[in-house]
């Protein structure tokens, strides 16, 4: 329990450091958002008054803490480009991105774990070999290309969905979920391939271990050895991988949103990078950072449950 609290504290500290670095970085880069907004023809007086209005003329640290405290309260600043509050701008988008990531994650876990166990059990057989070869191929297709292929196959070819026409969840929740299946699939496919490969090799690595021999010497069946002894040990690296995957998919969804024309936070981020709309970029970066740190925290907890050796060591 004390460990969990300490982890929580270090998670908050990490976020604070990240927030400071992000704010500092965006403060240091050349370019004045006021000039960006008003155009180069603006008079210095106009620029100065806009800067004052946005509070850009105050000292750095004050601006940082001001930004930080309002961020914690849920006020993420003001988007220069969209002329709206960032919170308002992002509030609907987060759900879309999170739905995408969770759907893909469910696909990964529900497909790759049984498949990895199957491949390991039939190691060297024809099915195992074909799984391994197709894995190798699927891993080589980046999600945005597999997204295009899926669009072509299910959208253009089979007309399961209309390419590029996103269904908003406010209008039709079922339709929204159905539309999201395809991008989620595109994100999930290479990760499924990696996860199957990892779980398979992890199980096979456990097999020659001494404790497996001990388990056999007590009269366990092979299935019992697998499910009662090996699987939990073999899952330890897989959990690490799944955690990293979850974080990776949050970033990967930025790309896939463009493929399927989904108005999630990724699309906003790209636009804001183009238009140098820093308050929004900062907010999105912080949101993603929060998600990543949170996922790592959860992985750590699961790790401790799976592996008792992690519980007591510092």
């Amino acid at each position: 329990m004390r460990d969990v609290i300490r982890k929580l504290a270090s998670m908050i500290l990490t976020l604070l450091i990240v927030s400071f670095l992000v704010f500092l970085a965006f403060d240091l880069i050349p370019g004045d958002p006021a000039i960006a907004k008003l155009g180069t023809q603006a008079t210095p007086e106009q620029v100065a008054s806009l800067r004052a209005e946005w509070g850009l003329d105050r000292p750095f640290l004050i601006r940082y803490f001001d930004w930080l405290f309002s961020f914690v309260r849920g006020d993420m600043g003001y988007s220069y480009h969209f002329d709206r509050a960032v919170t308002e701008l992002l509030s609907g988008k987060i759900l879309i991105t999170v739905t995408l990531v969770i759907m893909a994650f469910v696909m990964i876990v529900s497909v790759s774990i049984p498949m990895g166990i199957f491949a390991a059990r039939h190691q060297g057989g024809a099915l195992d070999k074909s799984i391994m070869v197709s894995n190798q191929l699927l891993m080589a297709i980046p999600p945005f290309f597999s997204g295009i292929l899926i669009t072509f196959l299910f959208g253009v070819g089979l007309s399961f969905f209309k390419p590029g026409s996103f269904v908003s969840y406010t209008q039709n929740f079922g339709g929204f979920l159905f539309y999201m299946i395809f991008p989620a699939l595109a994100v999930a496919i290479p990760k499924i391939a990696m996860c199957v490969k990892l779980l398979r090799s992890s199980i096979l690595e456990q097999w020659p271990m001494d404790y497996v021999r001990t388990a056999y010497s007590r009269g366990n069946r092979t299935m019992q050895v697998l499910y009662r002894h090996v699987l939990r040990n073999a899952m330890i690296p897989v959990v690490t991988f799944l955690g990293m995957t979850l974080a990776d998919m949050v970033a990967g969804s930025i790309i896939i949103e463009k493929v399927f024309n989904i108005p999630g936070i990724g699309q906003i981020l790209i636009k804001c990078i183009e238009y140098r709309d820093y308050p929004t970029v900062e907010a999105v970066v912080m949101l993603i950072a929060f998600l990543v740190v949170f996922v790592n925290f959860m992985v750590d907890i699961i790790y401790r449950i799976l592996d008792p050796r992690m519980r007591q060591s510092s």
Partner: protein, 539 residues
Amino acid sequence: MEEAILEVKELNIEFHDHELPETVVSDLSFTLHKGEILGIVGESGSGKSMTALAIAGLLSRKDMEKRGEILFRGQNLLQCDRNMLRSFQGDEISMIFQEPMTSLNPVKKIGWQVEESLRIHHKELSKEECRKKALDILEGCELKPEVYDMYPHELSGGMRQRVMIASAMICDPEILIADEPTTALDVTIQEQIIHLLLKLNRKKHTSILFISHDLSLVRRLCENVIVMQHGVMVEQGSAEEIFAEPREDYTKVLTGSIPKVVLTEERRERLLRSLASGTSKTDPRQPLVKTDHLYSYYRQYGKGKVRKVGVLKDVSFEIRPGQVFGLVGESGSGKSTLAKALTGIVKDTKGEIVRPENGFAMIFQDPAGSLNPAKKVGWLLMEPLRIRGIRDKKEMQQRAIRMLEKVGLSAEYMDRYPNELSGGQRQRVCIGIALMQEATVLIADEPVSALDVTVQAQILKLLKDLKKEMDLSILFISHDLRVVYNMCDYVMIMKKGEIVEQARRDKIYFTPKQQYTKDLLNAAGLGDLSITNEIDQEK
């Protein structure tokens, strides 16, 4: 003699994973009787572990052929189906292994693992009954009930082996197969495990098949012994016979390779005289190595603060020129740290250290790890010369070849990589590299512990010969009291970073003063050599 419980008839095991079939066991026949402790002795590659695994039904690789019969309860274990075999495993025949650290599942509680055989073979038992039986057997194996809810990593090596024994004995099996169960443990712990096995054997009348490379251990534990070499049984008989009058050549070599500890009449006189006078003559020469109240720490990072953990406490000793100084201790005694502190690898020390002019050279326990796997033997032998700034390639090569010959190898080894050599050859190369450094003092840290007994004897002989020839001074670190007796003039015993006792060799071995020294001697089977009682009687 009691009834036979297990009969092995003409057992053959062959591997077919290479082009030529490789025979690991051939035509092995023996009988294990009820309540008997039967030892199988052999060096690595003798097929002793394969035999054990075959009896336990744990050899099931596809590329392997097993012929012959293993008869148990009228069934041939090699022929009967998996279900039948499984019904014996853990219930009637159970097994414990060499590595207690890895033989337990790291993510399951001890209680769960101890009860497992019960859950598989005695489904009629309730959860409570299982738990009660598990607690009973844990107690029988001298473990506290708290262990039930702990995980393997929370236990020491000795405790884990007890847990293994508990889990193997919980169904009261007819046969317990113990494959080198004490090899990975410290000598005093080893002694406790042996006593535990003997106790269980007497109490439950379980037959034990004890596989070991350690002859003195087998001699003390087993009634009957089988000696194996290259998969063939060389000799069989009662333990006393085999050790007192070995018939076969190989057995003679094997028993001859155990270093002997005997006190000759002449040395006995000398020991008694020096004890009587109360003084021992001191070497007038300056010591080469000296520490004065040496303390050492290592820094433990983590949790934000740095903790200093003491490893050596108040260590003072001297090594004189030409002396072989034996340093004995179990794991955690600080003996390796002391060596590292002397050489300066461990820097965090307090207290004076006098180091010899030309420094130290060192040979290590694991010859595979102490040779850089990416370099050839010749390169490795020349490295000390290169570091000293010698550039003449021809000279370096000649000196390297001369050194190879000195350590009993030939010039053709120059172009080999370490992984192409056997363990004994690697240790010879390590000795060669150490001598190339022309250091004043040679530190040998468990130099023969990883080797088979016959190879061990060869390496010890080489070290002795070189010592005589080159007048070396050696700090010889070992846990093996027999080896130390054969090598050293002076012995220091350490425990938990402190010196327990130090004196001339015969004094330590024949008139030990400290209880811990006596324990160590007992564990090595040397306890009855003490002449302290006789001296008291004479007085």
